[in-house]
Symmetry: none
Subunit: 226 residues, 4 copies
DNA sequence: AATGAATGAGGGTTCATTCAT
DNA sequence: TATGAATGAACCCTCATTCAT
């Protein structure tokens, strides 16, 4: 069996703890409150988690691990740096949006907690960020992303945007749907905010004579980067 | 006089408090430690600040106000949405870089503090963010920024990137110089990361049947934003 | 059989408990640690001993009982109060020296524990002290020990010395060998520390007038202790 | 003024703490109880003493220091190793007898506490024990104590006897008066418990004829030690 | 205005002990 | 019989805050 009684109870505590940690500060949250919510004694909480902080850090570990596992299944199907980057951004936004308590905890409390950086959970989170960087570098190598840009900056921009939106979502309730931002973010990041007189979103309407059929061979664009 | 004895003492407390709050958590910092650093009694701290939290919130108020005053002097000289946006980004990065204790406090503790949002200091910070939004909207109106982009998202991207870099700077010590990132950020935000296959250097080789002559009318490019 | 599986397990727990109690305080020692050392569950410890304190008190009982049994075999062969007293002192010092964990426990923790005085183990220890008192009284009756000395004080001196040495041995590691102290203690206790200017070899030269003849009746020595 | 308000309050806490520590174990004693007895808040106790253990150790420090100061005034007036040794023994017994709570604490809890050995209070106690050793050595040098005895053993015997009696006094209420034991202890230690067939306390009753007057010249004892 | 002194309020953590299996 | 699991009950200690001087 995947979940025995012990695991169930552990998960129960984690779940209730998440709900409370997400609403209050770590400091404001008491073990008493958590144990009460989980309908166990305070001592029982300490049976499963050595300290209050360990309990705190155990929460993102579980969720992050599951999210990564899930995501790793999808990634192999995606080809091309752009779609992979997009997929990662989508994964972040979806995860945060679908798990508001989790994202609140991560964004408002863990991300700036120095001790969290020493955590297994953080290592997991880092691994996805590493994946993102890999994809960006792949894109540069492949030529779909500009050669002379700092991949770290690109990542910072993507993650920074996501985080900023997520934090505002939690603090102000806006925007209401994070997941809606995948494409806008991708577009902005890929193409920039500046209009292009001869710019990128160009579409060419070819009004071809009726008797001309456009075949595939007719159209062979070539990359010639600056 | 602008600074009498009381103001001096108050500023002294603020200064010492900043230094300590920047190193430790709000919770970890004690009034005892601050009063010791400021060489006054704990009770004296309470003469100037009603609560520990009020003291915390009083710190960014002073620095932010000064930074804004400074910046407001410069802004009128800048014309054009792009240069104004750039100026604001630069102002942020410079302020954060030159005041590490301040930026550490803001990034790691205040930005995620719900009660901070009710603060005069926060209103000030918000005013700059409002200015940034104005500039972006101006740029859209002026036509230098794309019409169909969300100005809020653009701002989120700019601020998010700045914050992300700043946080990493504090937590990991990298990058070493925030101010260096003004231009890279502007370039990336303005132009995007994507090379433009259909971009400036794009060439489409149309292998049209011989009897088809390409006329000007056949080709009518249009902006069609996603 | 004297030792079935249960007894074996019980003795195992006792043994491990002794080792730990001897190193730490009773309060510092946890059942968890003992059970771990004995490779049984905590609940099992409670199968054999009702409380932690009962476990503590069960330890000296076993060792003391065995030591007494051993000693009782020897005592009948000893004649004369002096040699019997000496034998008891030697028995104490040898027992303490050969069982450092036991003596540490007794000296540093049990001897001053009021509840230990209600214990069967204590009764056993007392019985030897009683024997010592008997021997001292015998010696007084026999005339080898001074009549007007307090036998309780003599015993207090012997036991106090032994205990003092034993405690110092445990706390400071000196002296290194308790058993070496049997004879010095006996000598000091029997003969005292004082040199005797008017000592054993005293001779009094009585220059009596010539006409006085010393008769036997004139000379009747009596003990008169101070 | 020798005792300002702060010292008074501190002493009050010490006094109440002593009363309670003497009745219960250190572990059994709670700060709550002490603070209640001293009519201050628990927090106030911690204003004066960093930890419960520091409070415990502060008690003997005060009493021991005062006792030593007192004793040091007397010692210079005493000449001769014997009288000085006797004085120290008397000082011990008197101190313990007059301060039963203190002696209970020292005998039943502190003497066997390993951390107490690192204490200033212990250093003070040690200093008296050092004085005792000095006196014993002086006596050996002066020839009033036997040359070939171990001065450490003599001290162990004196202190061990005192401690043993004191512990029994606390645990069993006997003997009722410790101070009565000064002379018996001294006699026993000096002269030993053994009767001396040719021994020292011999007195010879000379029933001389009436007409014989014993003159000083008649009696000329000579030292001739073995 | 400045502070020494006092404290109320609170929470994390530890374990001996129990009990159902 | 053995034990995994659960918990009740305690307590030390910290500090922000107050107030009389």
């Amino acid at each position: 069996m995947a979940t025995d009684a012990k695991t169930t109870r552990r998960n129960n505590i984690l779940e209730k703890a998440l709900a409370i940690f997400a609403k209050k500060t770590f400091q404001e949250t008491t073990i008493a409150e958590i144990s009460k919510a989980a309908r166990v004694s305070e001592a029982t909480v300490y049976e499963y988690f050595k300290t209050k902080e360990e309990l705190l850090f155990a929460i993102p570990e579980k969720i992050t691990r599951e999210a990564i596992e899930e995501f790793e299944k999808v990634l192999p199907y995606l080809t091309g740096a752009e779609s992979r980057v997009r997929a990662i951004v989508q994964a972040y936004l979806t995860l945060y949006h679908n798990n508001p308590e989790y994202s609140s905890l991560v964004m408002l409390q863990l991300k700036t907690n120095r001790r969290f950086l020493q955590t297994r959970a953080y290592k997991l989170i880092q691994s996805i960020a590493g994946r993102l960087l890999d994809c960006i570098n792949d894109g540069i190598t492949e030529g779909v992303f500009k050669k002379n840009t700092d991949p770290y900056l690109i990542r910072a921009m993507l993650l920074g945007t996501i985080e900023h939106l997520c934090i505002r979502w939690h603090l102000f309730g806006r925007p209401s749907n994070l997941a809606d931002y995948v494409d806008p973010i991708m577009d902005l990041t890929f193409n920039g905010m500046r209009t292009r007189p001869a710019g990128k979103n160009l579409s060419i309407h070819l009004h071809l004579p009726r008797d001309v059929t456009l075949t595939h061979e007719m159209l062979s664009p070539e990359d010639n980067h600056s």
